[in-house]
């Protein structure tokens, strides 16, 4: 394959480095955001994406009224950040295409790495499968069982791992010690 980052023009190496650095910043802030809103443990992810504990499967025959007294302090929202079905539909619509393009960009970097065909295929599969796993976990947590939060956690870590592997290998191959002459 003629596209080889080890021997690529320095401008292409710099482009890939900038791209990886930008993705790295995005991933770091993404992790920070996850820590703020959903956490890294299956229990906190399940609390964020799971259905309400008292779902009204069917509306009552006549409007039902429940009342309880409150103080001003009771208005504080101590409950975890929750993503309901409407918001998850929107999140999926907005994020999945974005993750697809990020995976495509990382895959383009993989194509320029000196790797065995199988390893390249595995990395490309990893960067696409990780967000699938992430969102599949969110939907299954909401629709089937909170236990599927584990999938979302796994998907998130897989995204980070895929990026770290690709960035590490690419930076090493582009800027590390060269065996042959560089163009």
């Amino acid at each position: 394959m003629s596209y080889d980052l080890r021997r690529a023009d320095i401008r292409l190496k710099w482009l890939v480095t900038c791209l990886l650095a930008t993705f790295g910043i995005a991933y770091a802030f993404g992790a920070w955001m996850v820590a703020l809103y959903a956490g890294f443990r299956p229990a906190t992810v399940a609390a964020t994406y799971g259905e309400s504990e008292m779902p009204m499967a069917m509306p009552p025959d006549s409007t039902m009224v429940l009342e309880h007294k409150m103080d001003l302090a009771d208005f504080s929202e101590t409950a975890p950040h929750r993503v309901d079905r409407d918001l998850l539909i929107q999140d999926t619509h907005v994020h999945v295409p974005m993750y697809g393009v990020i995976a495509a960009a990382l895959s383009c970097v993989v194509l320029g790495l000196s790797l065995r065909r199988g390893a390249g295929l595995a990395l490309i599969t990893l960067v696409f499968a990780a967000p699938w796993l992430d969102f599949a976990g969110m939907w299954l947590t909401k629709l089937v069982s909170p236990r599927f939060a584990l999938l979302t956690v796994a998907g998130g870590w897989a995204m980070g791992a895929g990026y770290a592997l690709i960035a590490g290998i690419a930076l090493w191959q582009m800027w590390g010690p060269q065996k042959g002459p560089s163009t």
């Binding site: 482009l15 006549s62 409007t63 007294k69 409150m70 103080d71 929107q90 907005v94």
Partner: protein
Amino acid sequence: MILLLSLVTALLHITPTVVLMKRPDAVAAVLPDARTFVARELHLSEADARRLHQAVDWSPEDGVLTFYTGRNGDDVAGALMFVRVDSPHGPVEIAVGFEPRGAIRKVVVTKATVETKPWVLQAVRAGLTAAYEGMQAGTMPDGAGTVRATVGSMPTYMAERVDMGVARALAAYGTFYQPELMP
């Protein structure tokens, strides 16, 4: 490179929720005289939910409308409700406070997103929420019309979302809030 970085910038366009005013502060702002509160949750029947949906194209989360009645001793200080409006840029939440006679006392925006916060704040600074004061059920809010001449297109767009939330609150209050039944 510029195209790629522009794409990356677009990809990073995430919109986590930002609290503009904590709920207890919002309650104190819209019902300053209230000292004690009663939450009244209406689990809407199918017919009532349909009525509300036909009026303002809205179904409250989990089919539950929640009004909070504020009291100061034996006197009713007013009522309030929180309404969320979704948009492709993320949700915005408002608190709408009503005087005992049913007119809107005050509206505050309690939540936006990282992306929409500056637009919402611009619209509020241009007089958006002041435009709702005194409105009664049965009238159509047009806060966006008030700020359109002084702010850009995105603040106006967010003002339209806030209009939508106020319209929902007015419809819910006018249709379902029965002050004579309030404790």
